[in-house]
Symmetry: C2
Subunit: 199 residues, 2 copies
């Protein structure tokens, strides 16, 4: 009992997050529990409370890792050489590809909710903002004459829209209506919105 010192605090945090991430990826947010995470890494439940404030904190950190992976995917989408409208479509395709490849991890970001009154950490908000920025840069290239305000608004509108299609698509709450693919629906959204915006 007590004091094994096999891992540093930081190592413990890392292996716990990796175990939790794998549980999210394979079984979804509902498939994760503090006890399961602990047993996967060979510790008892109590140990997790040495490195995480509580269970929500653990999930929040898993989700931040997913946001990092998602942002990396978008940032890796080479876009500089493309015409702006094509660049935005490429970014949208990367976003959708991530959501489809990692549905459980991607959904967990939005399924997890903090108790009433508790705010998400600022680092979380910043990671979301980074993604909007990538889109906004292309919108500014598309319409350089427009004021910045227009493109920040457009980036949010467009990206929230893409996001909504992915959510409903993965929920299978979209397919029931007629059988359009996520790609077809986002394609329509992008085509019409960009046509309107650059007009």
């Amino acid at each position: 009992m007590g004091r094994r010192n096999e891992h540093t605090r930081e190592e413990l945090r890392q292996i716990a997050l990796e175990a939790a991430e794998e549980l999210v990826a394979t079984h979804g947010l509902v498939g994760v529990s503090a006890r399961k995470v602990a047993s996967r890494i060979g510790y008892t439940v109590g140990s997790l409370y040495m490195v995480f404030r509580n269970f929500d904190d653990l999930i929040l950190q898993v989700n931040e890792r997913t946001l990092d992976a998602l942002h990396a995917r978008l940032a890796d989408t080479v876009v500089e050489q493309l015409p702006p409208a094509t660049a935005i479509r490429a970014l949208a395709n990367s976003y959708i590809a991530f959501a489809l490849a990692e549905p459980n991890r991607w959904l967990a970001i939005y399924q997890h909710r903090l108790p009433r009154g508790e705010a998400v950490p600022t680092s979380f908000g910043e990671k979301v903002a980074r993604m909007f920025d990538l889109v906004q840069q292309q919108l500014m290239r598309l319409c350089p004459q427009r004021p910045t305000h227009d493109s920040t608004l457009a980036a949010r509108a467009l990206w929230s829209g893409i996001h909504g299609v992915c959510i409903l698509g993965l929920d299978q709450k979209l397919e029931v209506v007629g059988g359009h693919s996520i790609e077809a629906v986002t394609g329509s959204l992008l085509d019409q919105y960009l046509a309107g915006f650059s007009q």
Copy 2:
């Protein structure tokens, strides 16, 4: 013990759903449990399994009630006398107003997820389809010359987009980026999309 016969099966189902709905409305999906619902209506947990297959079935039925209320709100939005683009904006405003007035009930529809492999009942899908239809009717009025296929696709794209803005907005995952209101972002989405679509 046993056999009180104070309520018929259907009455029991109704008061349970009402109690669950109130718990969702005030505390969100996480604030509901079978035990809490049972105690609110003066029964023990086991009784709920006489009228619901399991807890997911109970939540699903709560969510169908919310979908009915949402559809009623949209159907009540008088739209016949308006120009189609204005009508679509009015429908979007009703949708947003519902989400903002009943955030917990509205979010519960999309937060609840069935275990892997289980499909939502067809009645659920039909209720979503009904909502898309209301939007599609106006899109067809807007561009009568376009094939039906275009307006079904557009209804899904546009409505999923509005939906995405609401989701991110309520999550406060949208506000952090710059402080645009849900109304401003959906306004942009509608303006640009409709400009592109009717062009």
